[in-house]
């Protein structure tokens, strides 16, 4: 059981109901998640060909629910082709004890048994026009099958997208739904991940953001980004940071920068904002981003920010 993650979250999750269980969420302004095929070159933007998301189903949700995936196959207009589409992506749904609480499940590297818990459902997708720009629903799932975590105030399920083979990029997104045929949000549901693989918009005017939660043990954070490709700026906003610039990575490499966390930022969400390059248009930019605390423990990104979007609160002084 991890010692650091998700402390205090329970208090914050019990706020006003949230309905946006898309991942990425609308407020993140990130169009899609991405996972490349297992034979891809990491220079396309995916460092490990895995995407691990967790979803939290609140105890109030007792009816079955569905995990829906938009455009799960790798083919068609949306996905990123390298030569011809040849990629297979496996989506796996895990539940039960250890699905989240097993420490290895929360680490960034994919070397251990991060597929903890028990497999509830899985399906592999290759290029299939049937799924192009369409939703596929996993489920129905009994919420009680998830791993109940008191601190998270809900039953946790794990969704893994794994690029099995091929070298194309699978571009997709998730939705937590009470319906298998349409997106009907679960009140109080949420997605979170410790390593965010996503596709940026091609629109140079777009500003995107993701929301890591900083617990009360954090005194500094290490923000790492992979394959940013000179696509503008990455900045940090919080109640105490009004847009600190992060170092940005180039082609096929990681860049890490550490930032102190002040008292006001503990137990709050910070915002990592992506502003596209205005002078040069970067298309199909795939990025991976992690945030770790001073111990190297990954902090969770919630698609619905815990406690809301942070608003910078200046400390005005006179001299």
């Amino acid at each position: 059981m991890t010692k650091y993650a998700c402390i205090i979250l329970c208090l914050l999750i019990t706020g006003s109901p949230v309905f946006s269980q898309a991942a990425p969420a609308v407020d993140e302004n990130i169009p899609y998640l991405m996972t490349f095929g297992g034979n891809s070159n990491t220079s396309w933007g995916d460092d490990d060909f895995f995407q691990v998301f967790f979803c939290v189903i609140p105890p109030s949700q007792t009816d079955p629910f569905y995990i829906r995936i938009y455009d799960p196959d790798t083919g068609g207009d949306l996905d990123e082709v390298k030569g011809e589409f040849n990629t297979v992506t496996n989506f796996l749904i895990y539940a039960g004890k250890g699905c989240w609480s097993d420490t290895i499940a929360q680490v960034i590297s994919r070397t251990g048994n991060f597929k903890s818990g028990y497999l509830l459902s899985s399906k592999s997708f290759a290029a299939d026009p049937k799924y192009d720009k369409k939703w596929y629903s996993f489920g129905p799932f009994n919420p009680l099958e998830g791993e109940y975590i008191e601190r998270l105030r809900g039953n946790v399920f794990k969704v893994i997208a794994q690029g099995i083979s091929g070298d194309d990029g699978n571009i997709y997104r998730y939705f937590l739904s009470t319906s298998p045929v349409e997106n009907k949000p679960i009140e109080g549901g949420n997605f979170f991940t410790y390593k965010y693989h996503f596709r940026l918009s091609d629109d140079q005017k777009h500003v995107s953001q993701i929301y890591p939660f900083v617990d009360d043990r954090t005194i500094s954070i290490q923000v790492s980004n992979f394959d940013w490709d000179n696509d503008g700026t990455i900045r940090i906003f919080s109640v105490a940071k009004n847009g600190i610039l992060c170092d940005v990575s180039g082609e096929n490499n990681w860049v890490v920068r550490e930032f102190p966390i002040v008292a006001e930022e503990k137990n709050s969400t910070i915002e990592i904002q992506f502003t596209k390059n205005k002078s040069v248009q970067i298309r199909n930019n795939n990025v991976v981003l992690t945030v770790r605390n001073q111990y190297g423990v990954a902090l969770p990104f919630y698609v619905v920010p815990i406690g809301g979007v942070p608003v910078y609160s200046p400390k005005i002084r006179m001299k």
Partner: protein
């Protein structure tokens, strides 16, 4: 909306003014010529003696009809020796009537007297208790050894009383008491001003002075103090003596005189020397009206502080922003009245003490989105609690310098007496004083303040001091350069522009060496007839080059000091607590301070229109709004 509240108490930045106490202020005793049988009151100084009113027997041919209502006459008593008195005698047979005469007041030369008496004196056998025979004011001239040419005052009226006159030392104003219609009730104090050798219409002193009861027996002292008696203001009981003074047409709240002078009986009819150290007053504390003398006990002040300057100019910043990297965000600070400053650190001069609301918006420069919207920041500015001497820091030998103590700010310290020390010990004076220094040098002017006696019978006191440098001569520097950037603009329509243009004059005092003068002249050689311009945001950038040169002079020449005096055509901002010249002065001082100049090297002060130093400033709305005197002296 996020709200912050901050209290900037300037006062706490400094140690609180030390208050001391004085145990006894005045010593009083009845005069030898005051009897226990008769009444004597309303003394005035005359030819080394005292003129007063009394109902004592005058040994004249006029006899009293009613012993219970004896008539009052004007008497004179001369000094005899150092402490003695001669026997009182009728002051002037010529002005003595068969009715009530007095009290009296004299002009400074003692050639004209004003006095009150019953208006009708035709029937000396009439009933002296006849209330229809009102008192009026009369004047007489001293010609060929007698008081003659008796004239009634223009505003005498048989329907009401005018009495107890007191003419000011300059003879330009006469105070009196009257129950004329339109007052606050009972007897009120009025004054008339001399206009073309006539007295102008009576002016009621207003509700600060006059109450629904009786105010009378005014005495106009030198330095603007007006003493009077009242049974309407809160005092010790009966009639009490108070004083007040007029500043810019406003009367200050009356101050009751010392408990040694005032008593539970009636105390009235006072006369003092110019410093309120010695004098006489009237009282019936021994049942009959008597004249008492008073003299002040010596007052000493120790440990006088130097004056601390109030500061209303600050740099505002976001502490959190300072701790992190420079990021592309725009800080917009809204100071109200359309003043918006941009920057992560902004400098702003508030227009004096008060409560202000600053609103901050932070905009992301990259996205144009607002990061933080309308954070409100409350600023409360208070003046330093201290006695204050408001004056120029420099002077010229034999040229009068004005010193003001009225700007003193002492909460809970109700100032009763101003005592000034211009090098010859503390002497009582008024809130404002003029003095001249006879020799070149540095003088430490001190102001001591005494408060009203407290419940323990002690008199709180405090003092402050200020260094004045006095010079024999000065010379004005004529700028001869070519640069027209800061040149005076002739404003064709003053209303068309909110800009304010301050003309600059540069002076060298006589302690500057030729080398120092040459350095200043060399640094400013490119300028001609310079001016500094202001708008609602403060100093206009066009004026920076000239001010930067001034900063350069001070920075590179620590042996040179600048005294910067601003004289403004608009004395007071309609919406602000400070004179506009003071606001301009603090803007200039703040500008120089931010050029990292040692604050001991310069001093900026605004003087309104009241303190022309070298040349009187005549407001001319078509061209300039004020004048700035840059006075360079040796540091």
């Amino acid at each position: 909306m996020i709200k912050y509240s901050y209290l900037i108490l300037l006062a706490i930045l400094f140690s609180k003014t030390e208050l001391n106490a004085q145990s006894q202020r005045y010593i009083v005793q009845p005069t030898a010529f005051s009897s226990r049988i008769n009444d004597e009151f309303s003394p005035v100084f005359y030819k080394g003696g005292i003129v007063f009113c009394s109902n004592q027997s005058n040994k004249s041919l006029i006899s009293y009809k009613d012993e219970k209502n004896r008539l009052f006459k004007i008497f004179y008593v001369a000094k005899k020796g150092t402490n003695g008195w001669a026997y009182p005698k009728i002051f002037s047979e010529e002005i003595t009537t068969g009715f009530n005469d007095g009290p009296v007041t004299f002009d400074e030369n003692e050639k004209i007297m004003y006095y009150s008496r019953n208006n009708s004196t035709r029937n000396i056998l009439g009933n002296i208790s006849d209330t229809t025979n009102k008192l009026g004011l009369y004047s007489a001239e001293f010609t060929d050894g007698i008081w003659t040419n008796i004239k009634p005052f223009t505003y005498n009226n048989p329907l009401y009383t005018l009495c107890t006159p007191s003419v000011t030392p300059d003879g330009e104003r006469i105070y009196f008491s009257s129950d004329m219609p339109g007052g606050s009730g009972g007897m009120d104090l009025y004054y008339c001003e001399r206009q073309n050798n006539e007295w102008g219409p009576p002016v009621n002193l207003g509700p600060v002075i006059n109450t629904s009861k009786n105010e009378s027996f005014p005495f106009a002292c030198r330095y603007g103090k007006l003493f009077f008696a009242s049974d309407g203001h809160e005092g010790f009981g009966g009639k009490d003596l108070f004083y007040s003074w007029e500043i810019n047409g406003e009367w200050m709240v009356p101050v009751a005189l010392d408990s040694a002078i005032n008593s539970t009986a009636d105390d009235f009819g006072i006369v003092t020397d110019s410093t309120f150290e010695n004098g006489y007053f009237s009282t019936n504390r021994r049942k009959t009206d008597d004249i008492y003398s008073f003299s002040s006990a010596p007052v000493e002040f120790v440990n006088c502080d130097t004056i601390k300057e109030n500061n209303y100019c600050f740099t505002l910043y976001d502490e959190q922003h300072r701790l992190i990297d420079t990021v592309p965000v725009i800080y917009k600070w809204d100071f109200g009245n359309g003043v918006i400053r941009t920057g992560t650190e902004v400098r702003h001069c508030f227009p004096g003490p008060g409560d202000y609301l600053v609103k901050l918006n932070i905009v992301d420069e990259l996205t144009g989105k607002t990061i933080t919207e309308q954070v409100e920041y409350n600023v409360k500015l208070e003046n330093i609690e201290q006695p204050d001497i408001y004056s120029s820091n420099i002077g010229i030998v034999d040229k009068s310098i004005r010193f003001d103590g009225i700007t003193s700010n002492l909460n809970g310290f109700r100032i009763k007496d101003y005592l000034w020390n211009f090098g010859e010990g503390f002497k009582p004076g008024g809130p404002s004083m003029n003095t001249t220094f006879k020799k070149k040098g540095e003088y430490m002017v001190q102001l001591g303040l005494l408060a009203e006696e407290d419940s323990l019978g002690t008199i709180p006191k405090t003092c402050v001091m200020k260094k004045i440098r006095v010079y024999n001569s000065y010379q004005e520097l004529a700028l001869k350069g070519e640069t027209g950037k800061d040149e005076l603009n002739v404003k064709t329509d003053a209303l068309a522009s909110q800009d304010k243009t301050i003309q600059i004059r540069i002076y060298f005092m006589d302690d500057l060496s030729e080398k120092q003068k040459a350095k200043i002249e060399e640094t400013l050689k490119e300028f001609k007839k310079a001016a500094v311009k202001f708008d609602k945001n403060g100093i206009k950038p066009a004026s920076y080059p000239f001010l930067n040169k001034i900063a350069t002079i001070l920075k590179e020449n620590p042996d040179i000091r600048l005294e910067l005096a601003v004289i403004g055509s608009e004395d007071v901002l309609s919406e602000g607590p400070m004179a506009i010249s003071a606001i301009w002065a603090q803007e200039l001082g703040f500008y120089l301070k931010n050029k990292e100049i040692d604050t001991d090297s310069f001093h900026c002060k605004g003087f309104g229109l009241s303190y022309p130093f070298f040349k009187p400033f005549v407001p001319d709305n078509a061209t300039i709004d004020g004048e700035m005197e840059l006075i360079f002296i040796k540091n």
